[in-house]
Symmetry: C2
Subunit: 318 residues, 2 copies
Amino acid sequence: MALLGIDLGGTKLATALFADDGRILLKETVALENRKGEEVGSLITEKITNIISSANNDERRIASVGISVPGISHMSGGTVWAPNIPGWEDYPLLSEVKSVCGSIPVTIDSDRACYILGELWQGNARGCRDAIYLSVGTGIGAGIVINGEILRGSHDIAGCIGWMAMQRPFDGKYADCGCFEYYDSGEGSSKLAKAFLSEDSEYDGELRHINPESVRSSEVFSAYDKGDPLAARVIGLCVEYWGMAVANLVSLFNPEKIILGGGVFGPGLKLIPAIMKEAARWAQPVSINQVSLEASGLEGDAGVYGAGFLALKNLRDL
Amino acid sequence: MALLGIDLGGTKLATALFADDGRILLKETVALENRKGEEVGSLITEKITNIISSANNDERRIASVGISVPGISHMSGGTVWAPNIPGWEDYPLLSEVKSVCGSIPVTIDSDRACYILGELWQGNARGCRDAIYLSVGTGIGAGIVINGEILRGSHDIAGCIGWMAMQRPFDGKYADCGCFEYYDSGEGSSKLAKAFLSEDSEYDGELRHINPESVRSSEVFSAYDKGDPLAARVIGLCVEYWGMAVANLVSLFNPEKIILGGGVFGPGLKLIPAIMKEAARWAQPVSINQVSLEASGLEGDAGVYGAGFLALKNLRDL
């Protein structure tokens, strides 16, 4: 018996076949290559059809399918909203996938939900009942597990932590993405660097020689590593906001673990002790001593592992 | 069959006997009169013993007991931490109550959990599966229900929203109570009034004639109602923070309802439209349109109703 996990991203599709103990039997990734709308749906159903038909022994017979999508999975209607895939405002993914799966059960959930499920199953949150994945990349989101179950909310859009209000008064620049995401996503650190560059005419470090319109968070981290003072200001402010966000998750949810992951947290992982120190100033003082803050154990594979665990949860009451 | 709900506060003990449809059959309140430690435990067990023994017909036979405590109910050990009751750092309330209840089941939970359970059962959150009670009084806390169940966290201290970080940089004055509680509890509005009085030497409104060391939130609200400009500054800032807190609950939990209650929200209820307007600037824009912000339907009785519902939930899978 095998589990099929599918992780749809904004630019690629990863599929993996898992044994029920989490071993990967097969894994592959294909680029979306500007596919949109039904083309993306067809790519997914073709993949599933091929994998099901090539299951040539009992170990590889697909017992359940889980799918991670970069957006919202509407549980009641089985449709998906995925802002980075053109034509997926309300895409009927569940019915399409079911049409090729026959009697094999299918579950679809958001990428942030799958990240924490992946970490629970095979990553750094194994054994936890209450854990949170804080994903910081192009955007910011949180996958939240409470007593073993994903927090969905009344309409499947819980965990939108990028919208967290952390600095009054309200500023119109927060309106498109939320206050926390404005400052602390990959784009956020780029925007901060750009703003500090325009303020600080005396600065002549290495970020001065990058076009301020296109400075990337990885360049800010690289300059920070070399002791650049402007990069240190940017990263210092990011650490403050990350610490406040971690504190707020701790005070509200009293979790066992918070896992940090996403594109920005590749270079940012060395900041975990500083983020924890900042969080400890703000958080409920008993609760902060009951949590551990850790890096993702699965990195870019968290989504596909989570999709595999979705498939397994659908078979068993985990 | 009847349900016994017990609401222990910092200064009084309320008991109510409920029919399983929520009708109150009997209700009384006694002052704690400086009782402490085991004296408070004895008061509770005496009340329960009397009510059980006077259950002289089938309608009043106690089938289940629920208790609301002003602090933390540790589910694993059955002990209670209640900061306002001397000697209740780790009080063995469950075993004491069980010793007089025989085979009648007993459940203990925190006051903030009971407030939202009361509203779910008989108040303004009836029919909701995802709802939050934001309690603003001497302190600030949140009772959070997710898919019908109380959010407890890994060690029973979830919902400590008074510690929410909302204004960087960190200031040592937040260390004892949390940033949100510093500004927005009953004490918070008093502290703000005091601070604004000392800054604004030209102000000669009615709050000037109150001893700034002892100005109360009710006096600030009263002056606000009369158009006092200093009170308007205090309340304006409070509304900003309340709006940000509501926004953060909406973005993280995607609830159907947020109920505002607690001592400060008696006079503060007229501010609900202003709080909602502020929240809408900050929150995830889809989620904010899926929530309604309402006053408590039970006011001071939310805790005892919640204790009654705890008792009922213990009998049935609600």
